[in-house]
Symmetry: C5
Subunit: 96 residues, 5 copies
């Protein structure tokens, strides 16, 4: 799982049926070393009531479908936790 | 899921059986930051009646098979929504 | 799915049981923009009777196993169609 | 599977249900050639009681869910072994 | 599937249960163009009695679990064949 900041939202009226009622968030991956942005933003489905500005961790690929009601949703990235605190090389950082 | 523009189509008479009756679109991934093209175009199956020029989001890998009638189609990318609007870092963009 | 040219073949006597009777092709991925080679060649299983020199599209990962008789073949890339024609940015190209 | 060093831990109160009771470790991938760090740290679930400083190997993607009690946990990386010893090009290295 | 040379072995006493009795090989991917090494070495499970120095091809991701007795082994790379011969752009190479 990687760390990301929620930076936006996406709206789509015409979408695949299993995505109805899903909240689509736009995420920017951040490095655990220095919080630098990695790669470009992408769309993920929310499963933990995350909001704009939250620091979260997400799963990609097949795993992303499991937290949804339907096991077969057309999803390849899901937010699965909101980060409270990390300890990296003995240094603790608080996020809330 | 990533954002892409539909830039073309692909025809194949001789193809794996589960792909019969599927519309094959050619997609170019675009960055959510500045709409710059990312990587090279690829083939995806349409599930939402997208057309040339539409801005869409797509899933890759195993998830791509679920929106199709057969859960076992030989597909690794599917268009699953047509984007209406995005809000990134508080800035809203309309696509339709 | 990506586009590739069939550039060779691979023989292996000692191989995992589910691969017996499979034709192993060597593919070179080509860009849809300018047909430039992308990455290095790799081994894929044939499911559409493709031959040396054919322009094909292939699936990777789990999807690659579905066109085979056994759903559990030890395969991560399969040729699933021979390309007849593409239209990219309004320009049509014929392959046969 | 790749080699990594356990460099930290992650805490999240608000997380997807299948992750409750899982220990979340922060891993840094290391090269088997020279132990140089590869890429940036990421979060993995522990299945072998690994601790800070241990040299481990991990699986990514769908496989990562299997060692957990629930086969459908929202996980895409798991620690599956603690490395005792490697032999690379005839040179043996001990880790414990 | 990609081509690799078996360059070493890995030992781990403390490992995830489904990995007991599996031989863990260290592989270096080689290019089919010029046999140049690609990327860094990684751990794969042996399913064809490959040994140090053998030229093999391997599968990655979910497919890697199928050749094993348990379909749910915590594995993401498996050796599935030992290469006898390749023909690339009409040039034949023998490996045994």
């Amino acid at each position: 799982m990687k760390k990301a900041k929620v930076i936006g939202t996406v709206w789509a009226t015409q979408k695949q049926e299993t995505l109805k009622n899903s909240k689509l968030l736009l995420l920017q991956t951040l490095s655990f070393n220095d919080n630098a942005p990695k790669g470009t933003p992408f769309v993920a489905v929310d499963t933990v009531q995350a909001g704009i500005g939250d620091c979260v961790f997400y799963v990609t690929s097949k795993e992303a479908t499991f937290p949804l009601k339907s096991r077969f949703a057309a999803v390849d990235a899901s937010v699965v936790g909101i980060i409270d605190q990390t300890t990296v090389h003995g240094k603790t950082e608080h996020y809330l």
